[in-house]
Symmetry: C2
Subunit: 741 residues, 2 copies
Amino acid sequence: MSDQSTNPTPSPAPPTPTGRPPKVSGRGRAAGPSSNSNSDSVDIPEFEPFGVVGPRGLPPLTEFLDIWDVDMMRRPDEINKKRHHTVLYNSENLIVRRGQEFEVKITFSRAYKPTDKIAVEFVIGSNPQYSKGTYIPVFPTKDRQTIWEGRITNTTDNVVTMAITPAANCIVGKYHMYIAVSTPYGIRRTRRDKSRDLYILFNPWVADDAVFLDDEEEREECVMSEMGIIYHGAFDDVAERNWNYGQFNYGVLDACLYILDKSEMPITNRGDPIKVTRKASAMLNSRDDEGVLVGNWSGDYTYGVAPTSWTGSTDILLTFASSRMPVCYAQCWVYAAVFNTFLRCLGIPARVVTNFYSAHDNDGNLKTDIILDEEGRIDRNRTRDSIWNYHCWNECYMSRPDLPTGFGGWQVVDATPQETSDGMYRCGPASVQAIKHGQICYPFDAAFVFAEVNSDVVFYSRSNDGTMEPVKVNQTHVGRMVLTKAPGALTRRDITDQYKFPEGSNEERTVLVKAEEYGCKREKSSLPVADVDLVLPTLEISVGDDFELNVEFKNRSDERRTVDTYISGSIVYYTGVTSSEFLFRNPTVTVGPNKSVKETVVVESKNYMKKLVEQANLNFIVTGKVKETGQIVTAMKVVTLHNPKLTVEVSGPRKVNEEMMATVEFTNPFTFSLEGVFIRMEGPGVMLPKSKYYSLITAGSSLTWTEYFTPQRAGTTRLIASLDCPALRQVYGQVSVTIEP
Amino acid sequence: MSDQSTNPTPSPAPPTPTGRPPKVSGRGRAAGPSSNSNSDSVDIPEFEPFGVVGPRGLPPLTEFLDIWDVDMMRRPDEINKKRHHTVLYNSENLIVRRGQEFEVKITFSRAYKPTDKIAVEFVIGSNPQYSKGTYIPVFPTKDRQTIWEGRITNTTDNVVTMAITPAANCIVGKYHMYIAVSTPYGIRRTRRDKSRDLYILFNPWVADDAVFLDDEEEREECVMSEMGIIYHGAFDDVAERNWNYGQFNYGVLDACLYILDKSEMPITNRGDPIKVTRKASAMLNSRDDEGVLVGNWSGDYTYGVAPTSWTGSTDILLTFASSRMPVCYAQCWVYAAVFNTFLRCLGIPARVVTNFYSAHDNDGNLKTDIILDEEGRIDRNRTRDSIWNYHCWNECYMSRPDLPTGFGGWQVVDATPQETSDGMYRCGPASVQAIKHGQICYPFDAAFVFAEVNSDVVFYSRSNDGTMEPVKVNQTHVGRMVLTKAPGALTRRDITDQYKFPEGSNEERTVLVKAEEYGCKREKSSLPVADVDLVLPTLEISVGDDFELNVEFKNRSDERRTVDTYISGSIVYYTGVTSSEFLFRNPTVTVGPNKSVKETVVVESKNYMKKLVEQANLNFIVTGKVKETGQIVTAMKVVTLHNPKLTVEVSGPRKVNEEMMATVEFTNPFTFSLEGVFIRMEGPGVMLPKSKYYSLITAGSSLTWTEYFTPQRAGTTRLIASLDCPALRQVYGQVSVTIEP
């Protein structure tokens, strides 16, 4: 290398700093910071002069029309909250819904004249602009109207009642309000007054709103109800969790807006329910973005609250908003329940649904693989896919202008951090109609949800040389049943038919072909169907019981069949992940032509009790190989063990604002002590979350916990209690209570 | 509150730890860690016994067939790399493309017999499984074939040549290879040998591959060419940047695989070009995920390399792979160029395109707002949207089985971290066909790209009371021209017609209506068209020149027109963001009926030189109000100032493997000194990146830098040089050179 520079001398290059790259400013890239927080705001000046102020200054502006008082009519007994279905929100401020008129009373310094130029101004975010919908002046006269309508409904002396209709697609959040008066010298306006801040929500009652839901019973349930029932367990032995959504509790609305602020979602996108729900599905979990809830399926909840211990959303949301850190811990129903609170609180109709046998698509195909060895016995080391016993997600109701006609209505959103094929911890909104019809090419994540309800279970036989061949495909196991709470009742509603056409119908076949066109791979080898059926019974068993499992072998052939059978019982997490095997038998079963034989396995509690993990599920897999034909037979069954219950009772007057008592009772039914026990209790409209800690409950002993409370409103509601300790989880109790006015 | 527990005493709850939530294990949630790194691997055992080994152990296995040698035929002059178009990769290992046969030679301890049971095994990632495509045995006999075909093409004495065809949809990355022999006691296999590791890439030459591109000239350009030209400047004064993609340089392929490893992308998804390109669009920028390049548009590049200083991708990719930290700094063309290297290196056909006047959709609508005050003068405080003078992204070629028929082919992917409406710093793949036809409902991010080429510029007039009315809509400004390098030539190719139908055509109107159906909002007020046109000239100006700007006023009416005009000249970043105004005039211009008048503005370099930011763009906006009619007239023009150039010359033999010389010359044409000057030089196939630092180049002085180099291969290529210092950026030079074999 040589150097022949005539004049300047090359120098050693200056050292390059190493380590983390420096923070880079936005200069040169954006004209100004974008507004992405509803808590940031600017104060609009109290005076904006027109043109240049002359050398002699301005005349005293008080000569002109002055504002003495503004009444937001924000008390629950005034018309605004009643008309807007926001009476239940525990908030001092006015809360209204968009696309619908509300009224404010303005008291002037003198009688208002039609020639007076006034405007009611609404401002949201730190960078208000009319063209962005973040600054909206509303005028009282017909000739000067903006995107928000204004009119005067009454004038009495100095008092003007002005009616304002926010646009049906306006930004949802907290607005500041000002009254501006135009004088010949400039604009004068009221000073910022926090009591005049108002919240504008989505409006399912108004046809122009994207979340319009034209069914009063559904609206009452999916927007107004705080009382939740979330289904779990097994499709043939469904269990319930009660949940207090608490969307009207003090501070919850602000916490929901804080979630959007923490996500740095631009203010201007916050009128679009598609964008709001998609962003929230990412923010409800802590992955990627330090969102609301930390997922934990490990069984070790030492550093937080066990997912099974929560009884409602209020504690979680208020803790997140005050600590500004993710809350520990959640599993799928906790994500779905808190997400439901968020949605209902902002006015988006929403419900929690449970899918029984939910496939977890961890590598983007439509198969769950179970690997058997050459003898037909399950190979646990090589079986890596899992099927969740159940999985909860949310549905929310909205139109989908971004998709072709027909895909509006219920949309799946899911905040549980699963690895979707798109690689981010968020999911949806995905149109339920699109899922049902296999139109999985439309955003967002429809293919992922489709797989959750439609995957095949494929059994492979692995030979010694490492190759594998499919030997059986079960197309009906996954997505066995989808449930949600029925509107206006405490019963369940089967909505499987909204996700799938009936198994075996022509429509179902068409949908699967359609989905394959969009790249869903299925196992299509035509496999011989075995002529021996295995049937496992439906069982309802309590924790600690010994019981019998009868495996029925039905021979549909005209010849004798001999089946080398492997019966394996193991403890599984509700995610389908195996914890440990507690039972193994390998009988050889002989069945005569067209006969049926039952093989009975005795399951003793001493074998499973010590190995139980939190949700106490026993998973039985029976596999076998028919000697005469080489056919593979299989059957699977999850048995959810029933836990002991809490007794909850109430006593006292049962009247609004009169103190009464709730008592929780529990007896430890086991032969061992329970340590580190938390009991929680709360109830929609009657009791905020309470908890009590007991370091020890010895075998056989009982506890009674009594708590006083004062109902805030009339109607039928529930008190919900949970008991939780490392050795025993998901013990629940509840009591219905009707409060008189 | 009272407490009446009979037996256990409630205790104070144990303290809850505060601060960051603890790390949570995956236990209970997944059956095993998913494999998401191509650098992790397991060694497969050298012996896998069948069944249980008896008490006397095994007989000596060397009695059976033994493997003495494996020849991967990996030299560039052997058939594998030639047939697979991978000769140019500077790598010791075998590199082949999927869906196409390659050969290996196996030398056994004795002659191979058809009854010998052997398998060639391929393994990728840490959790190899046949059903996941991460463990693939290949057999030589027809009766036992797997998803990868195998056959014996030659047998000579102890040497067997085996031909293997990887599935056309197999995982792309680095595989380990083993030879397994089945003995009666179990499987014996070769020990792991790194020289037998092989890379399998995407294959645009094979019809079954999703990236098949049936055009040899396009393949040569978009897969095999290292020489890039990236367009910038203005649509009527296009400038070029030369770029060395360097996809075949030593270490670049490993760096590209490391990018996917760092993203933790599951190995099983790495055969799908849709998922690979989407993930890579997120990983090429450092936002969210500590990816390859840190964006910086601020003008201050003290702690890294100025975006304008890079001459190729090699330095960037090798630095990222060795430091494992993001590299500083990039702007759009750097993201696009490095992304292009990534795509071509893995075998996905790709090109860099430049869109002139690219709208930046920062709040999800199809409008860019420019706010004028009541007199028609631009209100810079309230004008927040910007239009990038140009923006670079990538197109890559693939089928789209996830979408309806017709949307395969070129797909837009963009690694520049812009806030898409979906909120993540990634973009695409979005079908160019879908964008052209307004079918923006299909994933991924088609609506965002549609807005980049189709937004309207809306001029609003803001009145004193804060309301705004649209006064003019310009529907042709944005997306004025889309360019890419022509295949096999050093010229440009206009591909605007692949994104848009001709302006004003029926098809164009249909597309805009279609896009509106999918929620794209447009300004639809029917505005009066002014009868005075403003025309700004096309100018080619060098930095430091004084020049005249002639603003032409064309009166199309039959009456006299008087226009109160505001002519504003400002320095803008290439992102359209205004740095500072250097010129302002407000003449009143009178034009007779059907006449034309020119208003001349003299622009002096002393006014703009001190305010220049790096890319030296002058933005002229002319607005005005016609007195007689109140109509608003507007015109906009970006003038890109031309920089001085570097002279690059070569001398010497111009033959492969013979040393020659390159000389860079530069004279400082300014009246001020240049400080902190970096010069860089490199050339595809001839020179790896070199750089030189000069602390000072005084006014008028010259430098000469000579570098020796040895061409590695024959053909026509270029040497590319850049000069960069804080006071003067994007000074480039290049020279073509043809190397004889």
